[in-house]
Structures are given as C-alpha cells and as structure tokens.
C-alpha cells in the first residue's frame, strides 16, 4: 500500500473511533475541515509513526504543521525512507 493510501486508511479508522464523519478527502481540504481535533491528529501521527517508521513533524524543528490534507500527506512522502 502506498504511503498515501495508508494515511487515508488510518484517518478513516480514527474517524470511526472518534465518531467523526469525514468529508471527501481531497488534497485541498483543510485539515480543520476534516473534523479531527488535536487529539485525533495526535493519534494519527503516533500510529503513522508506528506504521511507517517516521514522524515528519518531530524530525526537524522548523517543520510547520501542514494546513491541508495534501500538505499532510506530502510531509510523509517527502521524507526519505
């Protein structure tokens, strides 16, 4: 499974657990509009770290937290594995 698909699958899983109804996950959707709160994102980042072995937001201090779904996925895709 590609990084993108794994991220989307993890988001759907957490949305179900957190009783959040996800809108269609286009690249331009702002993360705010996903319905996830900060805890939801914290869970997502922790699980992706276990699944993919990386946490792009902790590696470098100057990485800004992304604003859109596309930026978020991009942060994982752009990290050299």
């Amino acid at each position: 499974m590609s990084v993108r698909l794994r991220i989307i699958a993890a988001m759907r899983q957490i949305a179900e657990e957190q009783k959040v109804t996800l809108p269609p996950l286009g690249d331009d959707l702002s993360l705010h509009e996903t319905g996830f709160d900060s805890l939801g994102f914290a869970i997502l980042v922790a699980r992706l770290e276990d699944d993919l072995g990386i946490d792009p937001f902790t590696i470098a201090e100057d990485v800004a937290f992304p604003l859109t779904v596309g930026d978020f996925i991009g942060a994982y895709e752009n990290v050299p594995a």
């Binding site: 657990e17 900060s38 994102f41 914290a42 980042v45 922790a46 699980r47 937001f57 902790t58």
Partner: protein, 464 residues
C-alpha cells in the same frame, strides 16, 4: 519486667510449637530449635547496643540473623538484595553504622566499618549459643523502594511493625505456613515474615531467579496456606498456568492497586481461598486490609480511628496517622515524615465513588496529556477488565501535536492470540472510550509478551 513490656522476635521462637520451619529452594531449617543455635558464629554479644547493617545476600540467613539481632542491637538496617552498592557508604554514614553482619565478609573489609561479623548456618553442634536475654527494643531501619538516588531510611519499632498482625489475631485453622513473592527485607515481605514468626507459623521464602513453576511446586510441597504479593506478582502467576494444584487458604495483595480484574482472576483460580488486599507502605505502615473481593475500600474506613489507625483524604491523597507508621526518616537533614498533626501523606491518590474510595494512582506518576492530568493506573484498570488481558501498562508518548498522548502496552492472557489482535484492540479501545474521557483513551495499543516488574514487585514505570 519494665513497666512497658519489652519483647523481641526470640520471644516468639521456642521449642513449644514443634515442626515450625523456614525454607528456601535449597534447604529447610527448623524454627522450633533455632534458639539453641547461633548463625552469627556465637558473636551476637559484640552487637549489643550497636548500630548494625544487615547486609546478607541470602534471604534465609538474613531471616535468622534478624531473629538473633532483634532485642540486642541498638538498631538494625535491613539491606534489600538489589541495593545499589554505590549508596552503601552514604547509608552507613546516615545510620551511624558500627557493625556489618554479612554472608560475604570479604567484601566488607574496606567499607570503613570496624566490626564485620560473618553470618551463616552453624556447623553442626559446634556453636551452642547460651540463652540470650532481650536487652532493648531494637530500632528497625528499612529503605524506601522509591525511584532513583539514595533511598531514604525509615525507622520502625517491632511494636509498630507488628501492630496490624497483633490486631488481626491468630490465623484460623491453626498456625499458618506463610509465603510471599516479596523479599523479606522489603516492607511487604517483612510483614509476612513477622506474621509467620509471631503467629507461631512457618515460612517458605522466595528465591531470586526461580522459575514460577518451580516456585509454585515449592509452595505446594511446603503446604503454604497464606501467601502475599503485589498484583503484578499475582498476574504473573496467573499467566504462568502454574496455579493448578496450589490451594492456599488466604491470598493477600499489597504494594500496588488491586483492581477488580486481578481480584476476580484470583478468585476464579483459587475458589477456596479468601482474598484480601492490604494497604501499606514503608513509611506509613499497614493502613488496612479489605476482604470483600472488591477493588477500593469502604469510605467508612476514613475518618474515625480503628485499631489505632486514622485515615483522612486531603488534596486527593490518602493520609495515615497511627502507631504503625515509621517514626522518622533517619540521617542528618532528613525531611520530616509526618505533618504537624502526625499524619503521613502516602502520595497515593484516591477518588470517592459512591460509598467507596478507589485508588487512582501515585501523585508523582501523573502524566500530562495536553495540559490534562492522567493517572496511568486508571487507564490500566479499564484495559485489565477485558477478559483476554492479563496486565497492561499505560504511559505517555511525546506528540508533536498535543505534547504527549497516552499509549498502552498490553499482555494477553493466552500469550499471542494469533490473528485476533485487531479484534481485541478494537474491543479494548471501545471499553476505554465508554469509560474514560477522550484524552485518556490510548492512541496506540501495542501487544507485548511481558512487562517489566521491579525488584520490589511493582510494574516498572521508569519512563512514564
């Protein structure tokens, strides 16, 4: 006798009760004849009025040395086997140690203590000790099992240490054979050793590094009727599958929170045993024991004084005032142990739910999740209720989003549940969501084969 009757352990040992023994994995020693022997090579007299460090690696030798030294030495500091050697010099200074009793005398030659006495089993009939007179009430010094740094020394008297034992009275059904998973140089283990001695019973000691199946085989062979350990010890035993055929009359839990899951697990595994959980700490002594099979304790225990123990809850923590609490921390500049009213703050946080107080965790063990305080024990209690979970550990993990999140390591009852991990994970998460606030629900659940337990029998929380 002086107005206040002086007593020492030797007063509970004599040939009157026959067949009393103390044993470890290697030997069995008669307690009925122990007064006629000296395990200190006949040199007990040299310890009269002295401040003695009992640094005996072997638990059985240590036990017998305690019965000799009590009532003779001025004070006796018990060294647990896992004591960091780097702290010994400091402790010797703090406790004004003048003599060392040890089974490894060579190691103590350069320790700066003039008197070193070797302890060990006497050669057959070589040393016949004369009847020793109890001279004084020896001060019992114990070390706290706390975290890092030099352990604190707390001072007890035999009268205080045995207060709960005397209050409980004789064990029903004749003298008991006691056992504990603890080391007897720790408060929880010492309580059991003292119960065996004072109650006219026998004792089966734990053996470091022994496989649990071998330990249980010894417990059965030794006819153990009464046994105590921490909830972590008990979970380990339940997990081992070695409990079959062992049928103690009384099971006691202490040292950690006894949650409903472990109480019920034990009552299923040992249907004939009465199961109690006791609250005690090295500093505060024995607070109470609860025998109704439910977690927590009745709110009625707080407030009035029972058997000389008074408890109150202040700022969320349990506080105890009684004659069984330690008298003081020992050493220069030692912090005071009790507040001005004589209450000791146990640091154990409790919460009133209906008519019962429940332990929620240690004050120092709180993890901070996005600014909200979380007791890992509270989360573990929910996870442990799942039928397929044997034990669990919740802890914080740093998060770039909220600072930290809760994660949990879980040990399943039957080891690996091949292919069912996801299903069980979903069920645990559903339980947590139903019973805990959202920030306490673990973000990640990891299944592990085992969890580290400290030498004191408690779940290791060093990185919490």
């Amino acid at each position: 006798m002086s107005p206040r009757e002086r007593f020492a352990l030797r007063d509970y040992l004599g040939p009157e009760i026959t067949g009393r023994t103390i044993s470890d994995a290697r030997r069995t020693v008669s307690l009925s004849h122990i007064l006629g022997e000296s395990w200190l090579a006949g040199r007990l007299g040299e310890l009269s009025g002295r401040s003695v460090l009992l640094a005996v690696a072997d638990q059985l030798v240590s036990a017998i040395a305690m019965t000799e030294i009590d009532g003779v030495a001025r004070r006796m500091l018990l060294c647990p086997p896992d004591l960091d050697a780097a702290h010994i010099k400091t402790l010797i200074g703090l406790a004004d140690i003048e003599a060392v009793v040890t089974d490894q005398p060579a190691r103590w030659m350069d320790a700066g203590v003039d008197l070193v006495i070797a302890a060990g089993a006497p050669e057959r009939a070589v040393v016949r000790a004369r009847r020793v007179q109890t001279e004084r009430a020896t001060e019992w010094l114990m070390l706290t099992s706390g975290t890092s740094g030099v352990p604190k020394i707390v001072s007890h008297t035999l009268e205080g240490l045995t207060g709960a034992i005397v209050a409980d009275g004789q064990t029903r059904g004749g003298p008991a054979v006691w056992a504990t998973f603890y080391d007897i140089r720790r408060y929880g283990g010492l309580q059991i050793f003292l119960r065996a001695i004072i109650g006219g019973g026998s004792m089966v000691l734990s053996e470091p590094g022994e496989a649990i199946a071998d330990h249980v085989a010894r417990l059965r062979a030794g006819g153990v009727t009464h046994i105590s350990g921490t909830p972590s010890h008990w979970r380990k035993l339940l997990m081992s599958g070695s409990a079959a055929g062992f049928a103690p009359r009384y099971i006691r839990l202490s040292g950690e929170i006894a949650d409903q899951a472990v109480l019920e697990g034990l009552s299923r595994a040992f249907p004939l045993a009465s199961i109690g959980h006791a609250y005690a700490s090295t500093e505060a002594g024995v607070g109470f024991a609860v025998n109704d099979g439910r977690e927590g304790f009745p709110a009625a225990l707080v407030g009035e004084s029972r058997d000389g123990v008074e408890m109150k809850v202040e700022d969320g923590s349990l506080r105890i005032r009684s004659k069984r609490t330690a008298h003081a921390y020992v050493g220069q500049q030692a912090a005071s142990l009790a507040d001005s009213d004589g209450f000791i703050d146990t640091g154990d946080m409790v919460e009133l739910r209906g008519e019962r107080y429940h332990f929620v965790g240690r004050r120092g063990g709180i993890i901070n999740i996005g600014g909200l305080k979380v007791h890992p024990e509270e989360i573990e209690a929910v996870i442990n209720r799942h039928a397929e979970v044997r034990m669990s550990r919740a802890k914080s993990r740093r998060s770039p989003i909220t600072g930290s999140i809760v994660v949990a390591d879980v040990v399943l009852t039957d080891g690996e549940e091949a292919g069912r991990d996801n299903e069980i994970r979903e069920q645990i998460l559903a339980d947590c969501r139903a019973q805990l606030s959202p920030h306490k629900v673990p973000a990640v659940i990891r299944f592990v084969r085992s969890l580290e337990v400290t030498a004191a029998g408690k779940l290791a929380r060093n990185d919490a």
